[in-house]
Amino acid sequence: MGQLSMNFSEIKKLIRLFEGSEVTELEVEQEGIRVLMKKNSPSIPLQNQIPISTEIVHTQSPEVVLRPAHQKPDRSGLSNILESPMVGTFYRASSPTSPSYVEVGDMVKPGQILCIVEAMKLMNEIESEVTGKVSKIFPESGKPVEFGEPLFEIDPI
């Protein structure tokens, strides 16, 4: 992961600009950090405080949690989709005789290995970056995956 290039105040500025505009969807990506803002309905007048969904999670603190571009929430904003960072073969276990790293329903935490994507004998151990529950595993083990292809859906806790 690279250094975060957008700080909190810049993102707040972006949100204010977005709120005051007639633009209904805005996506900004900078050095691996993607911010997606969406107004729920373009037909609602602006003065009615249109709810905005973003890929930035506001916590109560109010800290901002930025996710790297390859782990992003789905359109509902309720869960995270972990995407493949590279082209390769997807493996759910470290060897054919080993148990899977995770199963659907398992709780995972940041840094926990979820799978391996292999390309040219480079075994890339893909880790979770959130705490949550695995709700979906998209590819079958042993199948090829493309760059950006969804691997896991994780419901954050």
Partner: protein, 261 residues
């Protein structure tokens, strides 16, 4: 035993391999390094073992090697280059090992896709890499095994027909220390080259080392897929292009390859 002085006499790197860890016995040098990535001093270190009890091959397979005669080593290489370009790190490493064999043994192996060192169809060595993230850096742990001075009767029976060593090919007992230093010298050159130039030029060079496998029939077991066809080239991302039927080409990026004459 491994002579550190000889190794350092031949080492010409700026940072890779300046720290050398020698272990008498270890389960796996890759595992040993991977467990210690918090130690900054190990980020460009080389860890060599006289005896590996559970040397790692691809997907949990073992790398078998008799003690004291071969090279089994791992190194950690920290880099900021993006994962897309890192895909070819094992190809760059394969080229480096071929250069070192040429320099020390006067013999140039070929690279069987993706990076097995082979000579006359017999396996001389292999590379396995693991990618870890440590803060902002990607750290590649490269595990390398090369058959240096193994005599034929030292290979397990099932490997005697498919494996070979530099000793068997040249008739000379080689200095493992000199060969390791040469490998690290070339690895630093090629890893830096990858960092500075990206994958494209690495792949261009790699094509020269695997050219004898092109236009040959191949079977690739890639995960749960088996692809059979004719190897027709390496694409610009390092994938092996396999023509599975006239005009239909599949690209594979991983798997066990078996070539036929």
């Amino acid at each position: 035993m491994f002579d550190r002085d000889i190794y350092f006499n031949f080492l010409k790197t700026s940072r890779l391999g300046k720290e050398l860890v020698t272990l008498d016995i270890v389960d796996s040098t890759n595992a040993w390094v991977a467990e210690r990535l918090d130690e900054q001093r190990l980020h460009f270190a080389v860890v060599v073992a006289e005896n590996q009890t559970e040397g790692r091959g691809r997907l949990g397979r073992n790398w078998l090697s008799p003690p004291l005669v071969n090279l089994a080593f791992s190194l950690a290489w920290g880099t900021n280059i993006d994962i897309k370009n890192l895909n070819t790190v094992t190809l760059a490493a394969g080229i480096a090992l071929c250069c070192a064999c040429q320099e020390v043994a006067k013999l140039t192996p070929e690279l069987k896709y993706p990076n097995d060192l082979v000579f006359n169809g017999k396996k001389l060595g292999g590379i396995l890499a693991e990618l870890r993230q440590q803060g902002d850096q990607n750290i590649v742990v490269l595990g390398i095994g090369v058959n240096v001075n193994t005599q034929n009767n030292q290979f397990p029976e099932e490997l005697q027909r498919t494996s070979t060593s530099l000793f068997q090919l040249t008739g000379m007992s080689l200095s493992r220390e000199k060969l390791l230093a040469s490998m690290i010298n070339h690895l630093e050159l090629w890893l830096d080259f990858l960092s500075e130039n990206g994958s494209k030029l690495v792949i261009e060079e790699y094509r020269k080392y695997c050219s004898t496998f092109i236009q040959r029939e191949v079977e690739v077991i890639s995960g749960s897929r088996i692809i059979v066809g004719v190897a027709i080239g390496i694409d610009d991302n390092g994938g092996l292009l396999v023509e599975v039927s006239p005009g239909v080409v599949e690209t594979v990026y991983s798997g066990e390859t078996r070539f036929f004459d």
